[in-house]
């Protein structure tokens, strides 16, 4: 479903990702863990084309994104983003639009769905994330957890093949973290393909199909959660797990 092959990303002289290989199969959940600055966010941003990379490629279904920043990229990005949704650490809800408008914007203007149909679908999705009573609220009237749940509904409205989560709970307090992780768990159970960059280890253990450990721009270890959490083989993984909190 989602495959990242030999992806290299440089920022100036520094190599942030040094040849990353990663696969997320259809209907599974990949969880990306790693210390701050290990490159988790960068990997997510390269995977949806928000940042160009120097070599390697990203493939999602039929869509392929090549390295570089040359011609043809716009077209590649357009195709890729139809199948990839993204949920950001800072939610990034459209500040001038209500909850409902945030969710129907792209279905109407990108997929050209009739407005009625987009609204019906949005109401269902917002019910699913528990926000049926806040349809007309503006983002600044919502709590962080509520905003992130709207953002998830907004991504789902495009019916993406895979959703990328870029540290979705890092700006939230524990109570709001729990409500967002709850929604994500339900999503995983329904068979949504997801790649989640996170520090939430207990979520990774419960929900992940595969856990990928990113250290200094390399995936040092990949495998089912039991294997990674119970008998890590790489010293960097062990170090990461001892310092991590299992909230």
């Amino acid at each position: 479903m989602l495959s990242v092959t030999n992806l290299v990303k440089r920022r100036g002289d520094r190599e942030v990702l040094k040849g990353v290989n990663l696969r997320v199969e259809r209907g599974t959940v990949g969880v990306l863990i790693g210390g701050s600055g290990s490159g988790k966010s960068t990997l997510i941003r390269c995977a949806n084309g928000l940042e160009p990379f120097e070599s390697g490629e990203v493939v999602v279904g039929d869509a392929r994104l090549a390295a570089g920043n040359g011609g043809g990229r716009e077209q590649q990005l357009c195709t890729l983003r139809r199948s990839v949704g993204t949920v950001f650490q800072q939610f990034n809800l459209f500040a001038h639009r209500t909850t409902l408008e945030n969710v129907i914007e792209a279905p109407i203007y990108v997929l050209h769905k009739p407005r009625d149909e987009a609204i019906r679908q949005a109401e269902l999705l917002l019910a699913r994330v528990g926000l049926s009573d806040r349809l007309d609220a503006l983002p600044h009237q919502l709590s962080g957890g509520q905003q992130q749940r709207v953002a998830i509904a907004r991504a789902l409205a495009m019916q993406p093949e895979v959703i990328l989560f870029d540290e979705p709970t890092s700006s939230l307090d524990p109570k709001m973290t729990a409500e967002v992780l709850g929604v994500m768990t339900d999503l995983a159970k329904s068979g949504q393909t997801m790649l989640v960059a996170t520090h939430a280890m207990s979520f990774a253990r419960r929900v992940a199909t595969n856990v990928h450990v990113l250290v200094d721009g390399f995936i040092v270890e990949s495998g089912p959660p039991e294997q990674i959490f119970d008998c890590p083989t790489h010293p960097a993984t062990r170090e990461l797990l001892t310092s991590a909190t299992f909230g």
Partner: protein
């Protein structure tokens, strides 16, 4: 070319308001051994004008006349340069003692100022471009190619009063603050004809031959008298002038001077006859200030309407152009979805052009841009009416400021908004239109509202190309009635009545946006 008269007029009005009026001037008084006479060297030849061979020197038949008068009176004649339309108010202010600059005798002026006997009998002439369908005064009474003929005059002059009274119903009277603008505009086809004092027409068209395609047509009309004016309290000075004038006529000096400038004609032989019956009977009793203001009010309201239309047409244009420029300039930035890819040559050229545009427009005065649009574009084959020239110049001028405001507005939007839009599969143009601009525009509303108030007042600059907006109406009304203070108050009240609600609106928008905060 005469610019910024409006500002001057406002300053004059202000000084009148501050009570610096005639008394102070009087206290300064005329010196015993000299007199200061006021004239406008931009008023043009043959009256008082810069020597073409030595522009810092001022020559003209009035210079010679003033010096001859000075010699007769045993005083030194000192020339004080002032704006032609300011000469009477400069008398009031005490900056000059005599106005001597092609000012015709009117009963109205004679009520407020001491007038001398005439020093010249002039007539009004009609001038058009060769081949024009206008061949006589009578042609001004009918449409020209289906529209009203446009007739240029010196605002507030006898030609203005004559043309307005005789042909105002069938012609569009375009009022200028100098004489030469009309020649230039006939030459480039902006206006169809000009009515001017014959000496000026003959000087420019027959003597200097500066506008070879212009012709004087039909016989001269409406004789009038040039006189000197002084403050009412200075009538002894006028008595001295009258004595000196008669002497100069008798000893032939006057004739010599006029012959030198090609101005002597049979009409001048009538001067002594005219002097015998001077001053002419004042037919119409003076109307009270209130009556005159009431008569002017409809014109003021009409002019205020023009001001409003100017502002409301040019501001949306300015915002539109500014927005386009802002997007072009901010295109590579992340908030508009720029990917950090090296810019293409076309992109760099386009951005370079907009930068140049903004810098040039911000670095030159609005009045100058107005002149370029109105006087220079016709030379390049683009002729735009005065009104639309005003709209265009205001739009261009303010677009540069709007571009910067919009660019700051765009860059104040968090990059995450764009990233979220792109991640949902939106194209850059769609994301800009649906997500970035609506938020950016909202943040710049207060700044733009303030700019709108500024633009609204800057419409006054359009008076220099004779657009009949509020400040033009003020200057015409003040000059024709002499009621500078009253007319200034009327104009100010109208300006204020329109700009105050705008200020309140801007303040309200700012409060609302600050209070609520976005995101």
């Amino acid at each position: 070319m005469k610019s910024f008269r409006t500002g001057l007029a406002a300053a004059v009005a202000l000084s009148v308001l501050l009570g610096l009026a005639r008394d102070t001037g009087h206290a300064a008084g005329p010196p015993t051994k000299s007199f200061r006479w006021g004239a406008d060297r931009e008023g043009g030849g043959p009256y008082t004008y810069p020597d073409p061979n030595e522009p810092s020197r001022v020559i003209g038949f009035e210079v010679d006349l003033a010096n001859a008068l000075g010699r007769q009176m045993g005083r030194e004649a000192r020339l004080v340069l002032c704006g032609w339309d300011q000469i009477l108010s400069d008398l009031d202010r005490g900056d000059i003692d005599l106005g001597l600059n092609g000012y015709e005798y009117t009963a109205q002026r004679a009520r407020h100022y001491a007038a001398s006997i005439p020093y010249y009998i002039y007539e009004l002439g009609l001038s058009v471009r060769e081949g024009s369908l206008i061949k006589s005064w009578a042609d001004l009474r009918q449409p020209l190619k289906g529209r009203r003929p446009r007739v240029g005059v010196l605002g507030g002059s006898s030609a203005d009063r004559f043309a307005t009274a005789e042909y105002g119903a069938t012609c569009e009277i375009v009022r200028f603050e100098g004489t030469v603008e009309a020649f230039k505009l006939i030459d480039i086809g902006q206006i169809d004809a000009t009515v001017q004092d014959l000496p000026a027409l003959e000087f420019y068209l027959n003597r200097l031959k500066r506008y070879p395609r212009l012709r004087i047509v039909d016989h001269p009309a409406q004789p009038g008298y040039y006189v000197l004016y002084a403050r009412r309290s200075d009538d002894s000075l006028i008595d001295e002038v009258n004595v000196a004038l008669r002497k100069l006529y008798e000893d032939g000096t006057l004739r010599q001077i006029y012959q030198k400038y090609g101005l002597w004609n049979a009409a001048q032989e009538r001067l002594p006859e005219v002097w015998k019956h001077w001053p002419p009977a004042d037919a119409a009793p003076e109307a009270g200030a209130l009556t005159q203001i009431r008569a002017e009010l409809p014109l003021f309201f009409r002019a205020a309407g023009v001001t409003v239309i100017l502002a409301f047409l040019s501001m949306p244009l300015a915002v539109g152009i500014g927005l386009a420029i802002a997007i072009i300039r901010a295109w590579p930035s992340a908030v508009l979805g720029g990917s950090g890819a090296p810019p293409t040559i076309a992109g760099r050229l386009l951005r370079g052009t907009t930068t140049l545009y903004v810098e040039i427009v911000r670095g030159t005065p609005l009045a100058f841009q107005l002149f370029v649009v109105y006087f220079v574009l016709p030379d390049l084959g683009v002729t735009i009416s005065a009104f639309w020239s005003g709209v265009l110049a205001l739009a261009v001028n303010y677009s540069a400021y709007e571009a910067e405001i919009m660019r700051l507005g765009i860059q104040s939007i968090p990059v995450g908004q764009m990233e979220a839009a792109l991640s949902l599969g939106m194209s850059r143009p769609l994301a800009i239109r649906r997500i970035i601009l609506p938020q950016a525009v909202r943040t710049v509303i207060p700044a733009t509202a303030n700019d709108f108030i500024a633009l609204y007042k800057d419409t006054a600059v359009c008076s220099v190309i004779a657009v009949e907006e509020l400040s033009k109406q003020y200057s015409v009304a003040a000059k024709s009635t002499g009621l500078f203070l009253h007319m200034a108050i009327v104009a100010s009240v109208l300006y204020l009545a329109m700009s105050w609600p705008l200020s309140l609106l801007a303040a309200w928008l700012e409060r609302r946006l600050n209070g609520k905060g976005l995101s």
